[in-house]
């Protein structure tokens, strides 16, 4: 009987990445609200304070804009801050420093400085957190030049990509997901990193390409299983990197299947899906056998009520309907 491999939570994978990088490089430090003893709102940094103490884990006052700016200044001086924004919804408060400092400084100061900053933050809805604590704001960040944006969906990706993000010399927004924290997966033995700019083909298929990221990638995988019996063979591509987008992988999949559905948890209008669709419509039009479809959250705030929330978020039925439409086109 083969030995069972240990399964780790997504939150543990993030924690391990932080732990290993803190141990590896003493320029790495964590900055954020309640990340010490409390372990962060979702327990992700638990245990690290006890191990690394006050110098390396800095608990901040509630001052998102300035502690992000402080991290930018520290990064310019050679440190490698990993900032936590407790809920992605609060990133708007720090946006000036991301847009006008972090993303621009390397360019506008003519490469005299770099900003090796990681900003970790959980997006997404998790059952009743309400309008100000549930948003997937990936599209708010997309198009800010100079930022890298990643949104891993499994523990393995999360750990490898976070370690890579911390070692990267650019500002990286690392989008976690409240719904993913309690999901589990295996982790490779020993040290590894994963590239920040590659999509991953989660499951090859030949009929329709589902393109997604973060928690919705897992939903897409489940949908693939669910429709297999109907004879539909879906290809599931996990973007992982939202900026830059891995155009090569996207185009290869589209050219293979000719049918595309983009699924995301952000609002539909102006979402990451819009950019993906636009790229496909520019570069793969000849390969398309059906319209490019998108399933995403409604263009509305996310209501608090558990019952109402599901209507606003993309539901399995929405995805299934779109798949059917693509199949029948």
């Amino acid at each position: 009987m083969p030995e069972e491999k240990t399964q780790y939570f997504y939150s543990q994978a993030v924690n391990q990445a932080l732990d290993e990088e803190l141990a590896r490089d003493e320029n790495v430090f964590l900055l954020g609200e309640d990340i010490g003893q409390y372990g962060g709102a979702f327990g992700v940094t638990r245990g690290l304070f006890e191990k690394y103490g006050h110098k390396r884990l800095i608990e901040t006052p509630i001052s998102e804009n300035s502690f992000t700016g402080l991290a930018v200044g520290a990064a310019m001086m050679g440190l490698r801050p990993v900032v936590e924004i407790m809920f992605m919804d609060f990133i708007a408060l720090a946006l000036d420093q991301l847009l006008n400092s972090a993303g621009k400084l390397h360019y506008m100061y003519d490469a005299q400085v770099s900003v090796p900053l990681v900003l970790r933050t959980p997006g997404g809805a998790k059952g009743g957190y309400g309008p100000s604590h549930s948003q997937m704001l990936s599209s708010l960040l997309l198009g800010i030049p100079g930022l890298k944006i990643v949104a891993p969906s499994t523990p393995r990706q999360a750990k490898g990509m976070l370690k890579a993000a911390i070692r990267d010399d650019n500002p990286v927004v690392f989008i976690e997901n409240k719904r993913l924290y309690p999901t589990k997966g295996e982790l490779p033995e020993g040290e590894y990193t994963l590239p920040l700019d590659k999509a991953e083909l989660l499951s090859p298929g030949k009929d329709i390409t589902l393109i997604s990221y973060s928690a919705m990638s897992l939903v897409c995988l489940a949908i693939k299983e669910a429709v297999l019996s109907t004879g539909l063979d879906l290809e599931v591509l996990d973007l992982l990197s939202l900026q830059p987008l891995d155009q090569k992988s996207i185009f290869a999949s589209v050219r293979k299947t000719g049918r595309v559905l983009i699924v995301e948890e952000a609002c539909k209008t102006g979402g990451v899906g819009a950019e993906v669709a636009a790229l496909i419509a520019e570069h793969c039009l000849d390969a398309l056998e059906a319209p490019i479809m998108r399933v995403a959250a409604a263009d509305a705030p996310i209501p608090s009520s558990l019952e109402l929330e599901k209507y606003v978020l993309p539901q399995n039925d929405d995805i299934l309907r779109a798949i059917k439409a693509l199949r029948d086109y």
Partner: protein
């Protein structure tokens, strides 16, 4: 100002109502009937009740994430507040808002707010409007010690003072912002002392004492109303509960907690009522009335229906 005993008893009942409301919420959480999270104000009831008792009913209230006390102290219907928490159509916001985003314009309650510090400019704007409209109402903005470190605190208090806006800033300093002790978050942990940076008057009071809050609130509101000047009132409080659901409170000792439990505002209030000649029977009756009203509220709220999909996705634009 010495409110008569009956009034005081009614305030006590209101405080009990808030306490029991949240204890009921805890039950609902435990039995899986309540989703999301929410922030209890157990221990801080005197601040909410005393302050809003000192206010006119037509003064406008802006609250933060820890708003149940403010909502109920303002006189909102507990059944509808609970329905909102349970996500029902009959809730004050139809289930869209929930605990952190609840509003009742007919009660002059401009809303709770999930963004720490986010309500401070909004309340300042309400005061701006009141002045613009030559109203003699004022705006009351509740926030915590932690929120006083947001840029909005600084920016808003500055504008309020510059423009002489009729706004009372009420900082409920409960010693922690989530897990963060105020001394580690505020370089000047006496929040009231920060008012001087804006040429603003300020005062402190014991938020655990209903009478002190009543008195400090009355004085502060009088100043705001008469001088048409902003004022910062710091109320020293303690929340006996965790920050939100599932907070194991590792950041403070059980010892500290039990010491503070001794000073619980409800206990203090009961002693005060006894001293003023109210019998323990009257007190028990008030408590019972509160209990009944919460039981009824919960029952009503739990059977209320949910809104539908159209309601969830629609209504984004006015």
């Amino acid at each position: 100002m010495q409110p008569d005993p009956e009034k005081l008893l009614s305030y006590y009942e209101r405080m009990q109502l808030i306490r029991l409301f949240e204890e009921k919420l805890a039950e609902l959480f435990a039995s899986g009937l309540l989703g999301g999270t929410s922030h209890f104000c157990i221990g801080q009831e005197a601040a909410a009740v005393g302050l809003l008792a000192a206010a006119k009913d037509t003064d406008w209230v802006v609250s933060n994430h820890r708003g149940h006390g403010h909502l109920l102290a303002r006189g909102l219907d507990p059944a509808r507040v609970m329905a909102e928490l349970l996500g029902r159509k009959s809730g004050y916001c139809g289930g869209r808002g929930g605990s952190q985003h609840m509003c009742s314009m007919e009660d002059h309650f401009l809303g709770t707010n999930g963004i720490t510090g986010g309500g401070i400019p909004i309340g300042t704007g309400a005061a701006f409007a009141l002045k613009y409209q030559n109203s003699d109402n004022v705006a009351i903005v509740f926030f915590g010690d932690g929120a006083s470190n947001q840029g909005t605190f600084h920016e808003s208090l500055n504008m309020a003072s510059l423009w002489s806006l009729p706004v009372l800033y009420v900082c409920e300093n409960n010693r922690y912002g989530m897990s963060m002790p105020v001394e580690r978050a505020c370089a000047q942990p006496r929040i009231a002392a920060r008012a001087a940076a804006y040429g603003m008057d300020a005062a402190e009071a014991d938020g655990g004492s209903l009478l002190e809050v009543l008195q400090a609130g009355t004085e502060a509101l009088k100043l705001v109303r008469e001088k048409q000047r902003p004022f910062l009132l710091e109320l020293h409080c303690y929340r006996h509960c965790g920050h939100s659901k599932n907070d194991p409170r590792v950041y403070r000792s059980r010892d500290e907690e039990s010491r503070m439990q001794e000073l619980d505002c409800l206990k203090q209030c009961e002693n005060m009522l006894l001293q003023r000649g109210l019998g323990s029977e009257a007190i028990a009756q008030a408590r019972e009335r509160a209990r009944l009203s919460i039981e009824l509220a919960a029952k009503e709220a739990l059977k209320a229906p949910y809104a539908d999909s159209d309601y969830a996705k629609g209504g984004v634009y006015a």
